[in-house]
């Protein structure tokens, strides 16, 4: 089953959305690429957001070697036209890489502009925050292009610059700066959150990420399309299904891909199983943070049963390795689907009991209600995605707005978008618990279909044409996930650029906003409430071309190794 593409979209974009465009190119799946002049970027951004209520999905840049950089702005127009995504592209020279800043119009681009400065050395004019994002603050030059453009002497000073040590005279120390991280037992991953407190109340906060900066984007660019599937899954071990699916969707959008219906059902099934396990994991982690150990063990006990189903389908627990461009590598047999159905139904009944356990638990409520508030306006302006946005009463779900494939059509699989108007951590918990039930409904429908029918699960991919672009959009457990791929002009197997924008990237940027005004003891809960995944946020790495000495084994050595292991 395929989406019908709308042939009038290019005309619509040319006449109404972006008349400044120099050229217009229809991409697959209702996406239109528009080439613009770099100096129009901020003017267009302003019009898109104020007039069309469009949403900036991501801003990034591609290194064109000798020809400069290509700035890429991806906008979501799904509220105007069905599934319309507009990609603005503007070429800038390497001598003066300073396009106008979009972050001064929409704050959501702030992290993205820090990121392209880190990686490529592009410094947008008038960007509100020019500090390093993923590299250490003292890192000398841009990671990918190697150029070192002049940096402004002084950016806006973060709280870490005027901190007051703890041992100062009590009369002067009206505010104390507490660095949390990079290692902190309450937060599994590495990050530093600078929290400035007056007494017990947080007055300002700042977050420095990049401790997980290992750079899968560049790894995928060097590995090629088919090996990239496995690298993409390793962006994040928790939402590996979401990354696998988004990767293959992006690559399939490079050419006229045909994916069998059965493969789409298996993809939906795995994505939802992944969501269930991720949400259960999150409920456990937050229960642990607020000291509700029973909740932790309850939800992780349920999660193990989801993991068993995933393992019986894919053979793996965490990185599934069954995503392929053009389909899936393994089928779900009738017997397996029939065996999994009663388990999922029983699991749903038990998960339904989590809702009253959370919503009516006085201790849970006293730790979560009103903690980490995020109003609808802040969520909209800051670009929150996923359950965080939905808990602020913003009905945003990629599965409804820009579905990765046709199976999320309500006519095929019935499901609904969950929202909540609590606008706090309690609301985020309720949204996730309710989504567990919605996801298990989707899983049941997929399994019933798979048990009923048979068919192919993979069609061999065709040659990927040069000069094509693909965008994969998907709702990961944490929110909207975007993969952008551009095919190389010279090499049929390697992409020219691969860019990932993860949901945690957006939600983590909002953490300082949520922290202000909260109690110091609530800081881990607020940080946890976005289900922050630093591995997703800091996903980059560059492999040095002249790597270390490589070692290859001779056949005799291999045999000897096999004998030693008793193989």
């Amino acid at each position: 089953m395929k989406f019908k593409s709308d042939p009038t979209l290019v005309d619509f974009v040319r006449t109404e959305v972006a008349p400044e465009g120099l050229s217009f190119k229809p991409l697959h799946e209702n996406r239109v690429a528009v080439r613009i002049k770099a100096e129009d970027a901020d003017k267009l951004a302003e019009r898109f957001i104020s007039k069309f209520k469009a949403r900036l999905i991501h801003e990034t840049a591609v290194d064109l070697e000798g020809e400069g950089f290509d700035m890429i702005y991806i906008y979501d127009f799904s509220k105007v036209r069905e599934r319309l995504v507009v990609v603005l592209e503007a070429q800038i020279s390497k001598d003066d890489p300073s396009p106008p800043s979009v972050a001064k119009i929409t704050w959501q681009a702030s992290w993205a502009e820090r990121e392209i400065h880190d990686l490529l050395g592009i410094s947008p004019k008038g960007t509100p925050d020019p500090r390093k994002q993923f590299l250490p603050y003292e890192w000398p030059n841009a990671a990918e292009s190697g150029t070192a453009p002049p940096r402004p002497d002084k950016g806006p000073s973060g709280p870490q610059e005027k901190w007051i040590p703890l041992g100062i005279m009590p009369n002067d120390a009206y505010a104390t700066l507490i660095p949390i991280g990079p290692y902190h037992p309450g937060v599994i991953e590495g990050q530093t959150v600078y929290v400035k407190v007056e007494g017990e109340t947080v007055v300002s906060a700042d977050i420095k990420t990049g401790f997980h900066h290992r750079g899968i984007q560049k790894l995928i660019e060097r590995r090629g399309y088919h090996k990239g599937v496995f690298a993409a899954e390793r962006v994040c071990g928790i939402c590996s299904a979401a990354h696998g699916l988004t990767y293959v969707t992006a690559c399939e959008n490079l050419y006229e891909a045909e994916v069998p219906d059965r493969a789409l059902y298996i993809r939906t099934l795995l994505l939802e199983l992944n969501r269930v396990h991720s949400h259960l994991l999150w409920i456990g982690v937050v229960a642990d943070v607020i000291g509700w150990k029973t909740g932790f063990h309850l939800s992780w006990g349920l999660r193990e049963r989801v993991m068993d189903i995933i393992e019986s389908i894919t053979g793996n627990r965490v990185n599934y390795g069954i995503w392929r461009i053009g389909g899936m590598s393994r089928d779900v047999s009738k017997e397996l689907a029939e065996r999994a159905l009663p388990t999922v139904k029983a699991l749903k009944a038990e998960m339904a009991q989590l809702l009253p356990a959370v919503a009516a638990h006085s201790v849970v409520k006293s730790r979560l209600v009103g903690v980490g508030p995020l109003s609808y306006a802040d969520a909209f302006d800051g670009g929150a995605v996923g359950p965080v946005a939905r808990a602020s009463n913003w009905k945003i779900d990629v599965r409804a707005d820009n579905p990765p494939h046709a199976m999320y059509d309500p006519k095929v699989i019935s499901w609904e978008v969950i929202t909540d108007d609590d606008c706090d951590t309690f609301g985020r918990t309720l949204v996730r618990v309710k989504e567990l039930l919605v996801s298990s409904d989707i899983i049941v429908q997929c399994l019933e279909h798979l048990a009923r029918t048979t068919g192919e699960v993979r069609i061999e991919p065709k040659v990927i044409p040069v000069n094509s672009e693909g965008i994969g959009l998907n709702e990961a457990p944490r929110g909207e996930l975007v993969h952008y791929v551009r095919a190389s002009e010279f090499n049929m197997n390697l992409p020219q650029a691969y860019r990932i924008r993860t949901p945690s990237y957006r939600n983590n940027a909002l953490i300082p906003k949520m922290l202000v005004g909260s109690n110091l003891a609530d800081v881990p809960v607020v940080m946890g409430s976005t289900d922050q995944c630093l591995a997703c946020t800091d996903r980059f790495e560059v492999i040095r071309e002249s790597g270390g000495p490589s070692h290859s084994m001779s056949w005799a050595e291999l045999v000897a190794l096999g004998k030693r292991r008793g193989v």
Partner: protein, 141 residues
């Protein structure tokens, strides 16, 4: 001998993610939950390095976090042991030689037990830790 025997009966664990993808971390946490129940070996997850005997490290060591790993290791009281969980922690895996990655855990601190896998199953992690306990006890498994 008796001290080693006693020590191997209640090893307290501290978990450090040095830049991994969370895959090993969730499997490690799963090993603590009742289904795998690592507590039957007397193992307890501990928040502070000053209370811990075993440092369980996951992920390739990034340049930015290397000094924190060293510092946490230095804060642990002797005798201390290190387990590298997952292929990234063992060698750096695909991220080796990245400009931002230092390498495997043993490029920063000494490692006593290696558990390869991407990610290793909780059973494999428990097996690795159990082998380390045998090593502490002074007997070979």
């Amino acid at each position: 001998m008796a001290v080693n025997w006693a020590r191997s009966g209640s090893p307290w664990l501290i978990h450090f993610n040095t830049g991994g993808c969370n895959g090993c971390d969730i499997e490690f946490v799963a090993a603590i939950t009742p289904v795998y129940d690592v507590e039957r070996f007397g193992i307890k997850l501990q928040g502070s390095p000053r209370h811990a005997d075993i440092l369980a490290v996951t992920g390739p060591v990034t340049v930015q976090i290397a000094h924190s790993l060293k510092r946490v290791y230095d804060q642990m009281p002797s005798p201390k042991f290190v387990v590298a969980l997952g292929t990234c922690a063992v060698s750096g895996a695909p991220f080796r030689n990245c400009y931002c990655v230092h390498g495997g855990v043993d490029s920063v601190i000494p490692v006593d037990a290696y558990v390869p896998g991407c990610p290793p199953k909780p059973e494999a992690m428990i097996d690795g830790i159990a082998k380390l306990l045998q090593k502490i006890r002074g007997t070979k498994g």
